[in-house]
Symmetry: D2
Subunit: 97 residues, 4 copies
């Protein structure tokens, strides 16, 4: 099982993420894209990565916005799995900006 | 512009939807699928319909669950556009069940 | 590495697939859906499964049609990986019919 | 109905497209991406645009490659609809490169 990480350590490995509002051991980021099509293309690419890693985001979409929260439920908090998926999201979003 | 509908009238044309929790003039439904792949396939099919109608859902996904809220922002509430998208969602979700 | 299977054995485990036209050790099936949205939802669901298995289809889409060819390149032909992905496709397509 | 365009005129408005191999009045381009996830994200974004325009590509995908052919069936050849979709593809692919 992946180990729960210190949240600040986790945030230091990602771009523009923050601690989840609700006090859970989780990290969140709001991505903005040019339009719905681009936002949904981002989600589709990341959906294949999430399924591959068997590690799925909590994500909310409306139009060009995708709000993502990452945590690892069976570790009770943020782990390397979240860092890995978050970095993939950062990388793709940077290209799509 | 589409007209704002009575919420109960709107709900009567859909399956398993309810008034949004937050008191807004909106309708919500939580869809459950077999797994993440099926949930995401549902979202992809509906994403193309949403873009076609230029009418986009607010939706939240985690693993096999998709929580949808529909309203028409420039009408200040639920309209025929929401009924149309909601019916497409109901129809596809029934097939995927 | 997955073992190359006898083609008829492989076809016996699937629904409506046939040997590839070009004489390669591969299997093909043409899926028809109600419309483009449904076809693309099918592809999205299967894309996540393909990436998860690190085993990707050759597929062609136009409107409501998806033509799939499956083979395992590094085995030089059809293997259990193709059966597994093909069965997932058959199962989802049956629901969407 | 959209008017059939001169093929060279059409190609002049796009980046890296060519006349279809089979002599049809159609244009083709092969897109290469970093990996399957990126290729499929591209397809998902474009699928929503295609459905919106009610104008769908013929496209073939295997792993990181997407081969697209565009033509307008009821015009018997390439029209402004194809230019429009092709330009959207060029633009998104340039970002994803």
């Amino acid at each position: 099982m992946a180990d729960k990480l210190d949240l600040d350590t986790a945030l230091g490995k990602l771009q523009g993420w923050s601690k989840a509002d609700d006090g859970k051991h989780a990290i969140s980021k709001t991505f903005k894209f040019a339009d719905f099509s681009t936002a949904f293309g981002f989600m589709s690419a990341m959906a294949t990565q999430a399924e591959k890693a068997d590690h799925h985001p909590e994500w909310f979409n409306v139009y060009n916005t995708v709000e993502v929260t990452l945590t690892t439920h069976d570790a009770g908090g943020v782990t390397e799995k979240d860092i890995s998926l978050g970095q993939k999201m950062d990388s793709l979003a940077a290209k799509l900006a």
